[in-house]
Amino acid sequence: MNIRGTALWGFVATMVLTGLLSASQQVGLTRMNIPFMLGTMTTPDRDRAKLFGFLLHAMNGWIFAVVYAAAFQSWRRATWWLGAAIGLVHGLFVLAVAMPLLPSMHPRMASEEHGPTPTRQLEPPGFLALNYGRRTPVSVLAAHLVYGGIIGAFYRLRG
């Protein structure tokens, strides 16, 4: 596996994905703020949560880039559309599986069944994260398509 390429393009793709989701929030496509969501798993301090969440998100981006790279190595080819296809599956997984599981993993998130308490006050994402806006799935899928597309386009196969 091309470790340097994975690290570099995984980082670039993660920054672009974060930027796209942040822009989606600014223009009103979604309210979803992934750094805030992840960071509040570690601290209730809003400002620190956004910083920690950003770092966690960057780490996740690298870890997923390793999975993408492993897929390219096993297929012996890496193209933008192959990356985008993995990104599509990745995005669908995040929306359909990870998000509904979040209330059971997140120490500060309420669930649909159990109302907010003084310690669990964060809004749960709901199916496909639709609670954060009807166009949230579109934003998330588009961002992951671009993430995968960048890694697929620039990753160079090793060996």
Partner: protein, 619 residues
């Protein structure tokens, strides 16, 4: 003009009280109706605007079903409003607040960034209450669709954010999905809480209610009491001064240090008229007065934040200064009208933004330099950028003071040579010379001295009309203006000087009405039909001027009369109708409350000087 029907659908402006968290405020009527709220910030689009359109604007009301009488107060030294409804079958208390807390506490616990708490408590008997929630986001331009998320409350998307209403009563969404309501019975001792919050982040923080909400109320009250305890004022009328201070604090925008002129838009200066302006911005003309009020009461931190905002905001347009800026220092505050809102009691148009931002107003240079001079404590205050900024302002004043401008009242008629503006140009140069002499700032003082002296010659020659015995609104003019009463305040002339004494007398005769003061003659061309009320702060300027001139007894009497025009919770609007005592214009108005504080400070200083002289004589 308003019809009878129009007027009856609107609460009088004085019937409103304000709650806030130094980012935004809400207006709540005596009848428990939350009729104005912009979220997340002062100048954001409204969520509730029934004060501007009783039918379309949206409101959140809690009131007894039948007839009732309401009594209100703020909990002592806080901005928590308590309304007690007395109905035939009992009484119930409603406490409204936007919770505030310390930064340390925010780091320990997830807290909604923007929240309104409404806590209902039965006092006696059993009262039937009607709760009605009708959000209308984006100045009622956006269709509201409420969604019941069970335990998580009632949700409403607003575009970039979401409103979450949680309560421990079963609120039912109406068939049209645009409002929710319920009727409940509250017995003595029973408590219910309602939390309305806003978030533009997902996941939104969904505040807990019940005991946790009441704890937020107590924490918030404790925060306000601790803040108020820092007030160093021990003079007369302390209660009014502290209330004005608390109202002023609500208009401070904590993230930037800016202070808005008022948190509302388009409350009319004449009911049914067109003098309806958006005041949710920061006017530089208020700078010097506001800083004196804050520092005079011991609030150096707020004063420093405001001064910091002044220096930051004005750098964007430097060396030219605009008359107003946005809360983050935005220079473009484009004005437009909201044709779909009928306006308060039919007073249209409803404006957002303020076209006055593009006017040339020379007095702001004096205001800004005087404010900076008041805040300076040592040479370290002035970094290189600030010295260049001040030098640039001085040069701009020297280049422009001979030109006509729009004057302090920013009329929308042609520019003129306003005497007050010329004097404030003198103030700018005089303070710059003082700063050079005190702190050794590298400024072009030779030119400043020459121009400063030339301004004084011009004002004394052409700005004082010996025939009527008064300084006049414009050079070579014969009309009067209440702003001329601030000349001693700026140190331009001694308040006991015959010219200012006679100006005070003439202005009082022509513009005064029972202690109140119009800002200028009714026949002055300001671009609109005549008919506005007396201008709140002008009455307090007259008190200040009189007290400085040694007429303490009359000044005190006038001050007491003016305080009588505040509403039952001590708040003032921009203007007052001398005939009825009704409030007019945007509400509450920072400038008027700054006037209360400064007049009280001057009266207190005058009283202590008199006492000291008395002691010396007796000794």
């Amino acid at each position: 003009m308003p019809t009878v029907d129009n007027a009856s659908r609107y609460s009088p402006i004085l019937d409103y009280a304000v709650i806030g968290d130094c980012r935004s405020v809400a207006l709540i009527s005596r009848e428990g109706s939350l009729d104005w709220l912009c979220w997340p910030e002062f100048d954001s689009p409204s969520v509730f605007a029934a004060v501007l359109d009783a039918n379309r604007g949206g409101r959140f009301s809690i009131r007894p079903e039948g007839p009732f009488r309401a009594e209100r107060r703020y909990l002592p030294d806080t901005n928590t409003l308590e309304t007690v409804f007395h109905a035939p079958e009992g009484s119930v208390a409603l406490r409204d607040l936007m919770p505030v807390t310390s930064e340390d506490r925010k780091r320990e616990q997830l807290i909604a960034e923007h929240e309104i708490l409404r806590v209902i408590e039965g006092v006696t008997g059993e009262v039937e209450l009607r709760i009605h929630y009708e959000p209308r986001p984006d100045y009622a331009r956006r269709a509201a669709k409420l969604e019941n998320r069970g335990q998580l409350g009632v949700w409403c998307q607003t575009g970039h954010g979401v409103l979450v209403l949680r309560c421990d009563v079963p609120l039912g969404i109406d068939a049209d999905m645009r409002s929710a309501s319920v009727t409940i019975r509250i017995c003595a001792g029973e408590r219910k809480t309602m939390s309305l919050s806003y978030s533009d982040d997902g996941p939104a923080v969904t505040p807990a209610i019940g005991a946790a909400a009441r704890q937020r109320l107590e924490e918030s009250d404790a925060w306000w009491r601790a803040w108020t305890a820092r007030c160093t004022y021990e003079g007369p009328y302390r209660e009014s001064v502290v209330r004005s201070l608390l109202a002023l604090k609500l208009m401070c925008f904590a993230p930037s240090g800016a202070i808005v002129a008022a948190p509302t838009t388009s409350l009319p200066e004449l009911i049914g008229g067109v003098r309806n302006w958006d005041y949710r911005y920061c006017w530089l003309r208020d700078a010097s007065f506001t800083l004196r009020a804050l520092t005079g009461l011991g609030y150096e931190e707020e004063a420093a934040a405001y001064c910091g905002w002044l220096l930051h905001a004005t750098r964007l347009s430097w060396p030219r200064l605009q008359i107003l800026y946005g809360i983050y220092g935005e220079t473009r505050v484009t004005e437009s009208t909201l044709g779909h809102l009928e306006g308060y009691a039919g007073s249209s148009p409803v404006r957002i933004g303020n076209g006055a931002h593009s006017q040339q107003q020379l007095d702001v240079y004096g205001e800004v330099v005087d404010a900076i001079a008041r805040m300076a404590r040592s040479r370290d205050f002035f970094d290189g950028d600030t010295v260049r900024f001040l030098n640039g302002i001085g040069k701009t004043v020297c280049d422009q003071w001979r030109e006509p401008d729009s004057g302090i009242w920013e009329p929308r008629s042609s520019p003129m040579h306003y005497t007050h503006s010329k004097v404030l140009c003198w103030v700018a140069l005089d303070r710059l010379i003082d700063l050079h002499e005190t702190y050794g700032l590298d400024l072009d003082v030779d030119r400043f001295r020459t121009e400063r002296d030339a301004i004084r010659v011009e004002v004394e020659r052409r700005g004082y009309n010996a025939r009527i015995g008064s300084y006049t609104q414009t050079l070579d003019g014969s009309t009067l203006d209440a702003s001329l009463l601030t000349l001693p305040w700026y140190g331009y002339i001694d308040a006991a000087h015959p010219r200012i004494m006679s100006t005070l007398k003439r202005v009082g005769e022509r513009l005064g009405r029972g202690g109140l003061m119009y800002r200028y003659d009714d026949d002055t061309d300001d671009g609109f039909d005549p008919g506005e009320g007396a201008f709140g702060v002008c009455g307090f300027w007259a008190v200040d001027c009189r007290a400085r001139g040694g007429q303490l007894a009359v000044a005190t009497e006038d001050f007491e009369r003016l305080l009588g025009y505040a509403n039952d919770v001590g708040l003032f609007a921009e203007e007052i109708d001398p005939e009825t005592g009704a409030a007019l214009g945007n509400f509450p108005q920072a400038f008027t409350h700054v006037g209360v504080i400064n007049a009280a400070l001057t009266l207190a200083a005058g009283s202590s000087e008199t006492a000291a002289v008395g002691k010396e004589v007796r000794g």
